[in-house]
Every structure is written in C-alpha cells, then in structure tokens.
C-alpha cells in the first residue's frame, strides 16, 4: 500500500513538474469507464445523463431526482466547475447524492472533461 501511494505521488509529481500535457479525449473515455456504474451520456440512471451538460445548471435535468444540495448549488457546468466538482464531489457540493471520492489526478480530470466535451458535440448527444 505504501508502495502504491509512493507510486501515485511520484506520478503526480512528474506531472506537476512538466508542462501540463494537452487534454486527450481518447484517454478521457477510459476514465469515463469509472462513471459507468451510475451514468450514461444519453439517459438517466443512478446519476443524471451527461449529454447537454455544458452550460446546464447543476441539478436541472427534468425528471431526475437530485439531492437538495445539488439543486441549490447554483453551479453552471463548464470545464472549470466540472474540474472542481470532480476533484472531490462531496466536498464541492456537501450533501450531494453522488457518493464518490472523485478523480484526484489533474490530468485524468482534464482528459475526462475533454471526453465529455467531445461527446456533447457528437450527433448522439444532439439528437
């Protein structure tokens, strides 16, 4: 376990030291696999759909039963707000129903958000 923490910390340091590599939606697709127990792009599941996310007010998909905390958060989803939320959802929106520790690696979050952006532009999301 120590070794793992060391490894992870090492990787984070390496990333912080170099210039931040560009966000890669293809890498982000693999990160999105972590969300697939609860989310889909096109339809609501345990969590709300992610199509239409950008520019949407948090907690506003009609018919989805959000927590009061999310509905009251006044967040509008964009690259910046997603980055903050996904880093630590339960700290960013205390009381959220998304019981998940988050994606702590900055690069992974950037890739994930780039993937969500790309999919939001796709025909499948627009129909």
């Amino acid at each position: 376990m120590k070794a793992l923490a060391f490894l992870v910390a090492g990787a984070a340091l390496a990333l912080a030291a170099g210039a931040a590599p560009a966000a890669d939606p293809a890498a982000g697709e693999a990160i999105y696999a972590r969300c697939l127990a609860c989310h889909a792009l096109a339809y609501d599941r345990t969590g709300p759909r992610h199509c239409g996310l950008f520019g949407r007010r948090a907690g506003s998909v009609a018919g989805f039963a959000y927590s009061e905390a999310m509905k009251r958060s006044k967040i509008v989803w964009n690259g910046k707000t997603l980055d903050r939320f996904l880093a630590n959802p339960m700290a960013a929106v205390p009381g959220t129903a998304m019981g998940y520790a988050g994606v702590t690696d900055r690069q992974e979050r950037a890739d994930l958000i780039a993937y969500l952006e790309r999919e939001n532009r796709s025909a499948a999301c627009r129909k």
């Binding site: 696999a33 969300c35 889909a40």
Partner: protein, 192 residues
C-alpha cells in the same frame, strides 16, 4: 460479526451485543464474511451517518440497476449455457449486495432507494451474446470503480471494509466476463 448480521440487528445496542457475544460463531457460519468491527454503529450519529447513508444509497441504486440489467440479459435469448448460468449467479450476488446495503441504510436511520419501475438499457446495441457480455462487463467495471470511490469517503471504517468486500466480488465478475469474451481477464495490476 458480519455486516449482514449487523444490518439485521434490531437496534445499535443489540448490534453491539451481537458483536460482543457471538462474533466467532457468526463469522464461521456466514457465507458473506462482510465483517464489521465493534464500533460499527456506535459512532453513527449525525452528519457522518447521513453522509454514509448517501454513499450507501448511490451504491444501492447501481446494484438495483445491475439486477435489472442481468434480468434483461437472461431473458434476451442471446445468452447460451454456461454463460446464462453465470449471468444468473452474478445477478444473485447483486441481489445479496442490494439486500445488505438496504438493511444497513435502514439500520443507520436512512431510507433505502427503491428499484425504478423501469430502467433504460442500450438494448438496440445488444445483438448477440458478446454484446451482452461486453455491456455486463462495463457495468461490473463501473461498479468496481464506484466502490473504490466509496471506500475512502465512508465515515465508518467498517462500512469501508464492507464496500471493499463487495468490490472484490464485482472485480471477479468483471474478470470472468472478460474471460468469457476471450479478453485478458485481468488486464492490469491496479483498478481505478
């Protein structure tokens, strides 16, 4: 003392007594050795319990959907034996997870989410056995990640342990489904 027994105990005091009194006995007799320690429900008041209930409820929501997904798979006519038997077995595990989660939520003073009257599944993309297996594998992989994301946020360490125990089961499902697809069953040394 198992997680299951804890969930079944009528009140926290009884849960504690059950732990102190019969832990050895129950441990050996329990199929699901989801262990909870003696402080399991003692420190479960206020904010931390509420937060733990929310985490348990999102896990429960995903488990209930998985049960429905395996039902769709089993009834699709696309699965042949022995894969069909696997699907039914795995569905049974998800039912056990859901049962334990929901009892624990009640125990903590919460209200378990109910199964939805209907779920959306990408049925138009499920044309053969491999499609169904791949879909099931994506859900199981997602479930591993979801529990991994739950373990560090539980206020109660015993719930974290129980979540890790379920995580192990889902990871086995994922590996077996990949194996059935002819893919490397365990593609990496770490899960994320």
């Amino acid at each position: 003392m198992s997680f299951l027994t804890l969930a079944n105990a009528a009140n926290p005091l009884e849960a504690r007594r059950a732990f102190l009194g019969k832990s050895g006995l129950l441990l050996s007799g329990t199929a699901v050795a989801l262990m909870a320690g003696r402080d399991a429900l003692a420190a479960q008041a206020g904010k931390s319990a509420e937060s733990d209930v929310r985490v348990l409820n999102s896990a429960l929501g995903a488990e209930l959907e998985a049960i429905a997904a395996y039902q769709v798979g089993a009834e699709s006519g696309l699965l042949q034996k022995p894969v069909l038997d696997l699907a039914v077995t795995f569905q049974g595990h998800h039912k056990e997870h859901a049962d334990v989660l929901s009892k624990t939520i009640v125990k903590l003073g919460g209200k378990p989410v109910a199964a939805k009257p209907r779920y959306t599944f990408p049925t138009d993309t499920l044309k053969n056995q491999a499609d169904v297996l791949r879909f099931a594998a994506s859900l199981e992989k997602g479930a591993v990640s979801a529990y991994l994301g739950a373990v560090p946020v539980f206020g109660n360490r015993d719930l974290a342990k129980a979540a890790a125990s379920i995580l192990g089961d889902e990871a086995m499902h994922w590996a077996i489904l990949r194996n059935a697809l002819g893919e490397a069953p365990v593609p990496a040394a770490f899960m994320a």
